[in-house]
Symmetry: C2
């Protein structure tokens, strides 16, 4: 299996991503938030590329089963129910709900990947589950780091290191012959350089520093906790749901959500 | 001085690069070739973004003082005088000539940077000269890795490592307070991981492997030789020339070009 990688998603259009197996990585915070929300019983995430799309879509849905979540500049969007902090997506809030989700980078990357052969959402909190899925599938993958828009660099160190940790686990697993590209080799080297303390990485990277500044430092700790939310968010039609074998029935005991319950 | 960096140039337009101090890095091979050509007495390099532009511009120039150089898929463009191998740009060929230069990534990045505050061309062969210029200028810089078009990754390990080596030299020099971004920190980590043997890096990176396959393995050795062509190609109006204090008079002794003569 060949593992390719891109450090930014902004320059790609849907057709370039068509028919690929894609892992969308936006550690701070879209990937983590989607993973937590679904683990806490959200029915589905509907990613959209713009606020306009979010408003348009939510107009045709029933208010009591639909929430609008997302951010601009890290803060909740006016008129939305939720921001982009995974801590806001606790079970009491999201259980059984459809969530229209609009963020600057992550939801855009998810939307662009709508014609992918397969699309899963990856972060540190569900890293092992993503790697297991890749090993089982045993096909070529593209690790799509969301990166950042509105800056010339468009590179996010935390996404690159997370992708590199996936590459390291795949190589260490030895279940598949892993072929790397320049970009996935680079990510692996970045994981080796910065992966010793993920929390320290998140505190020192540009976007982590910004989030701490605007009051979301507690998000960093949650986002840094490797393998604490072992579920697999996956594109199904135009929405993101847990992989079928992981979905809980609507009337399951809420306490069964395990340690991710109520975060 | 803040050192920002981008791993690919394809997603930027001219206005985003306006008023910045830019180092264009395309190790294999545009940056190296421009540096060698000017060191060997070429009068100027005229970078263009497309073959159409090259043909249009050369129609209005005198044939005997103008050459067309460049590549598509690594090979010379039909009707051009030279390809993109620095070995073709020896003194006997280029001395006193204006060279219209069209490559897939490097010349496009140079063209996009036409409204920069300053633009210099960086590669391993002139790395120390570029770093000295940055230290003297002591302003913010953007290291613009050309990357690759026509592939989804668009990331070139050799450009990233070259940029990282510049960052390392700037930090080691201690002449200026260097502030890094996520991207320039990542490049530094990549230099530390892959910089022990530049030649090995160039032989093992994707584009280096491709160039060796199509017969340009000898270019890799030249491109890997750190600080062997200590000159500074610099944007001057719409053309690239040596920094003024480095320009040799037209009738200088050809043998004075030193070890870069006749490569």
């Amino acid at each position: 299996m060949k593992i390719d990688l891109t450090f930014t998603s902004s320059s790609f259009d849907e057709l370039q991503l068509r028919d690929k197996n894609i892992v969308v990585i936006d550690v701070l915070r879209a990937s983590t938030t989607v993973t937590v929300a679904l683990a806490n019983g959200a029915r589905e995430i509907i990613p959209v590329g713009s606020i306009e799309s979010a408003v348009k879509i939510s107009g045709s849905l029933f208010g009591e089963v639909t929430l609008r979540g997302g951010e601009r500049n890290g803060r909740i969007i006016e008129g939305f129910n939720l921001g982009n902090s995974p801590l806001e997506y606790g079970e009491a809030t999201v259980r059984g709900k459809s969530i229209i989700f609009c963020t600057t980078n992550g939801s855009v990357a998810m939307t662009k990947s709508r014609y992918a052969r397969s699309l899963v959402i990856g972060s540190f909190v569900n890293l092992g589950t993503v790697v297991k899925f890749m090993e089982e599938k045993n096909e070529d993958f593209l690790l799509l780091c969301a990166g950042r828009l509105n800056t010339i660099g468009q590179f996010s160190l935390e996404d690159a290191v997370c992708a590199g940790m996936m590459v390291q686990r795949l190589e260490a697993g030895g279940n598949a012959k892993v072929e790397l590209t320049d970009a996935s080799r680079a990510a692996l080297a970045l994981y080796k350089a910065h992966g010793r303390s993920i929390l320290k990485l998140l505190k020192n990277c540009e976007h982590g520093e910004y989030l701490a500044e605007i009051g979301f430092e507690s998000d960093l700790k949650l986002c840094a906790d490797v393998d604490t939310v072992p579920v697999l968010p996956m594109l199904s039609g135009t929405v993101i749901k847990l992989r079928r074998d992981e979905q809980r029935p609507e009337n399951a005991d809420p306490t069964a959500a395990g340690r991710t319950s109520g975060v």
